[in-house]
Structures are given as C-alpha cells and as structure tokens.
C-alpha cells in the first residue's frame, strides 16, 4: 500500500475505534436500552391521537388517517421486536420489561381500532347522519389517551422521562 493509503487506513481505523468507544461509554445503565422502544411507542400513540383529532375535525382524509395508523403500527411492531430482544438481568428489569410489553400490545390494539375508525366515513353529502366513523372515533380517542397515560407512568417508573 502506498504511504497515503496506509495513512488513510490508519485514520479510518482510528475513527471507527473512537466511535466504538463513544458508544460503549453511552451504554452504561441497562434501562437505556428500554429508552429507544419506549420513546418510539410514545411518539406512535401520540401521533395516532393527533390523527384521530384531525379526522374528527374532518381536516384529515380517510387515506391520510389510515396511512398514519398503518405507519404507527409498523413502528410499534419494530419497538416490540426491539423490546423482546432486550435481555433483562434482574427481577426488577424483567418485570419492567414485561409490563412494558403488555403496554405495547395495548397500544397496538388501540392503533388497530384507530385504523378502522379512521377508515370509516364521517359524513355523507346529505349531512347530519351518525355514521360509523363519527361514533367510533371519540371512543378510539379515549382508548388512545388511556394507553398514553399508561405508557407515561411506566416510563416515569423506569426513569426514562
């Protein structure tokens, strides 16, 4: 290898080593591993709430609402997968992880209900008729809010927020 080549290879190795060290330092308490999925779930459930609000105000279309709900469901799936791969070391961590998983599945369930509610029509041309959407949406909103509170409590308990 030429001298410049060796020099560049050395720099690259040093950078990767540095990065590895920095990330190693950041990983100290193990509840930090819960942080990622928990934040993702928190963001997802709040997004769904906002989408349902906007649909209630008839500002959002059904297509936009269902797309949002679908996207959030995917996000919940990846958060759940990440949480399941988290290796709990103590009894406390185990119970924390399990309650968080239970919370996640509640959220996913309410997201599925939200998706159905968002897809349903909220008004007809002749107006005033109580259609599926305008009944389901407030109910789903309540469900989402409860799930959000549950998650927030868990996150405070885990010291994440």
């Amino acid at each position: 290898m030429t001298r410049i080549g060796k020099f560049l290879a050395a720099i690259l190795t040093a950078l990767i080593f540095l990065g590895g060290m920095l990330s190693g330092c950041a990983q100290s308490p193990s509840t930090d591993a819960l942080k990622g999925p928990a934040k993702e779930a928190a963001s997802a459930v709040r997004t769904a709430s906002l989408a349902v609000d906007l649909r209630l105000q008839e500002r959002a279309t059904a297509a936009a609402g269902t797309t949002t709900a679908d996207d959030m469901l995917k996000g919940m799936q990846s958060a759940t997968d990440e949480l399941e791969s988290f290796g709990a070391k103590t009894q406390e961590e185990q119970s924390l992880r399990d309650s968080m998983l239970a919370c996640f599945s509640t959220i996913s369930r309410s997201l599925i209900h939200a998706r159905d509610a968002l897809a349903a029509p909220t008004s007809t041309p002749d107006g005033g008729k109580n259609l599926a959407g305008s009944v389901q949406l407030p109910a789903v909103q309540g469900e989402l809010r409860t799930a959000t509170e549950q998650l927030d409590e868990l996150m405070t308990k885990a010291g994440i927020q």
């Binding site: 950078l15 540095l18 950041a26 990622g36 934040k39 906002l50 906007l54 297509a63 996000g75």
Partner: protein, 409 residues
C-alpha cells in the same frame, strides 16, 4: 418581457427543485426533536450549495466540459474512480429514497400501500428520462414543486409564537430530551441534505445539456442566488411546522404521514392535497435528477456518449446505465426496507462523500487551462476554503457520531 419570464422561470424552478425527500424528512425530524435550534445549519448549507453550484456551473459553461470529465482528466483514474464509486453508491441510495418518497406520497393520497406504487413510480420516472426534453422536465417538476410553499402558508395559519421560534433559531441550544451527540449528528445530516452532491453533477451536466455559454452565467447566477435561498427558506418552514405542532405533542418524525400532520392541522384537506402534489413533484423531480446524475457520472468518467439532448440510440450505454440504476433502486425497495430510513442514511452518507466531490471542482475552478480568465476570484476562493474545512470536519465526524448515537436514535 420574454427575458423577464425566462428569469422568473429559472428562479421558480430553482426554488421548487431545491427540496427533495432528504430535505423534507430531515427538516421535519429535526423540527420535531430539536425545534429550530438547528436552523443555522440550513443557512450554512444553503450558502455552501450556492457556492458549489455556481462554481460547477461556471466550469461547465466556460470549458464546455462537465464535472466528471474534468475530474477524470485532472485527477487521473485512481482518484477519479474513488470519487465515482462513492458518488455512484450515494446516488443509488438517493434514487432509492426518492422513488420511495414518490410512492409514500401516493400512499398518503390514496391509502394504498406504497409498495404497490413503486412500480408506477419506476415506469413514470423512466418514461420521462426516455422521452421528455430536458427543459420541459426541469420546468414542470420545478414549478409544480413550488406547491411545497404550502408549508410556509401552514406555518402562518398555525399562528405560532414567532418570538419563541426566533429565539430558538437565533440562540441555538440543545433541548433537554436530547444529547449533544445526537444534536451534532443531525447537524451533519441536515448539512448533507442541503449540500446534495448529485445536485452539482446534475447542474454542471445540465449546463452542457442546455449548451450554456459564458453569457448564460449571469442567468444561472441569479437562479442560484435567488432560488436556492428561497428553497432553504422552504426547508426552514418545514422544520418550523414540525416544531410548532409535533415537538410540543411529543411526536418525533419517522414517517411521511407525520410530516403532513401540521399541514393538515393548519389547512385541512385542501392543504393536504396541495402538499401531496408538491411532495410528488419534488420527489419525482429529484428522482429524475439523481437517476440522470448516475448516468452522467458513469458516462463522463468512462468517456461514453451522453446527454438527454441526444436520442437514446445515440447514447446507448448512458441510457442502459440509468435503467440498471432504476431497477437496482426498486430492487432495494422491494426488500421492504423503510424508504425513510434509506433517506436518513443517504443524507449522512452524502455529507461523508462531500469532500470527494467538492475538492475536484474547487481545483478545476482555479485551473486557467480550462477556465481561461474565469477562474475563481480571491473572495470566492476564501469562502471556498472555509467551506472546504467545514466539509472535511463534517465528513470526518459523521461516522463516529453515527456509531456513537446509533444513527441518531
């Protein structure tokens, strides 16, 4: 009057063409997590891309040669190949992200899964590259892309606290929920989103396509100096909308649907429709530009015949290369990888590869054999050197930060 229309058209297409899926997503993510405390990066990036585009346009207009031809001739095959490989791979990533962006926007409009829209997007992009004239392609996508100004309109409709927005922007500070590593990582990502390398290859090859001469330089300078900053202003509007609606709600952006929520809140279904139109046009235009860029870089490096001004039969390898690139991008999307994730990586890798594309242009813009008396002036060179340092710092810091922060998680 015709002159004035031409100038206006140039500026408007520059504004509409500035924002692509990378800007859209990165600005929204940053706005939802950091508020406007990274706004200064957008300003730095816009000044940089103006400088960069100006130099490369001047090189093309004066010497009649496009970027990669000059890189090959001045820097030899070793440096040229390193540059080509890096630029090509990043171009490929960006093509994938843009086609994904078109499909995601169509999903937002219809509710039909984005995977089903990808083949349509592919065929549409290819057909335009195959048959549509360069100037028509540029003008249409640029003008329709102006619909993205709906973000600025939405921002006004949301009646934000302007004072607090301004203080976030002018006194940047890292919000309490985020670490400084993540802050600087996103600074680099935002920088890479603004200073997209493909823009430069496209700009200089476009100058040759449209047969610019020295007298066209003034027009191009006006387009760049007025159009790009206004485009940067649009980027800031995207970030501000996210900062006003999503940040207080505790929503961090990971999908295109979340980017649309502030606009929906501000202007309802009409604003959403305009937004989707704008996103489709901007990502479609960017998909065209990046695909053409990949064709340009390969053809110019290897000495093939190239150009949209030639019929495909006279630039066979150029067109075959672009078809392969499009198919590769679609193949990546078919694996089900999230296009937003691809976008987020593509902007960071763009920042990493910037020195490779920037330095050769800087060298050539100072070479009297190619530029005659149009070499860089002293002032331009001083600014250019400052930017060289910024680009090198960003490029070197990107990988350690990516590893340390887990790509911004």
């Amino acid at each position: 009057m015709k002159r004035l229309l031409g100038v206006a058209l140039g500026i408007l297409t520059a504004i509409g063409g500035f924002v692509d899926i990378g800007d859209l997503v990165t600005n929204a993510v940053v706005g939802s997590r950091f508020g406007l405390s990274l706004a200064w990066v957008v300003v730095v990036g816009v000044v940089g891309i103006c400088l960069f585009a100006n130099m490369s346009g001047r090189v093309a207009a004066v010497s009649g040669r496009a970027t990669f031809e000059v890189i090959r001739e001045r820097m030899g095959p070793r440096a040229g190949l390193a540059n080509l490989t890096a630029s090509f791979l990043i171009n490929l990533m960006t093509v994938t992200a843009e086609i994904g962006g078109i499909a995601l926007a169509l999903q937002l409009a219809s509710g039909v899964s984005y995977m089903l829209w990808v083949p349509f997007a592919l065929i549409a992009v290819w057909l335009v590259i195959w048959r549509v004239k360069f100037s028509i392609m540029e003008n249409v996508t640029g003008l329709v892309g102006l619909s993205l100004v709906v973000f600025a309109v939405a921002l006004f409709l949301l009646k934000p606290d302007w004072g607090s927005l301004a203080s976030q922007a002018l006194n940047p500070s890292i919000p309490s929920g985020e670490g400084s590593g993540v802050y600087w990582y996103y600074a680099i990502a935002l920088f890479g989103a603004a200073m997209t390398p493909y823009e430069v290859f496209f700009f200089s090859s476009g100058a040759v396509e449209e047969r610019w001469k020295v007298k066209d330089l003034v027009q191009s300078r006006v387009n760049v100096l007025l159009g790009f900053p206004l485009g940067g202003f649009l980027s800031l509007a995207i970030a501000a909308c996210a900062a006003v609606v999503l940040l207080p709600a505790g929503i961090s952006v990971t999908t295109l649907s979340q980017v649309a929520l502030p606009v929906i809140q501000a202007g309802g279904q009409l604003a959403l429709a305009v937004l989707i139109l704008g996103v489709v046009a901007a990502t479609f235009g960017a998909a065209l530009e990046t695909t053409l860029s990949s064709g340009y870089t390969l053809a110019q490096f290897f000495g093939w015949s190239w150009g949209k001004f030639r019929r495909p039969a006279e630039a066979a390898r150029f067109h075959v290369a672009m078809i392969v690139v499009l198919l590769a991008g679609v193949a990546v999307l078919a694996t089900g990888v999230d296009p937003i994730l691809v976008t987020e990586y593509s902007v960071v890798f763009s920042a990493i590869a910037l020195p490779l594309t920037y330095l050769p242009i800087l060298i050539v813009a100072n070479d009297p054999q190619y530029m005659g008396k149009h070499v860089n002036g002293r002032a331009v060179n001083i600014v250019a050197l400052i930017y060289l340092v910024i680009i090198l710092v960003a490029s070197v810091a990107a990988i350690p930060l990516m590893i340390a922060t887990g790509a911004g998680a």
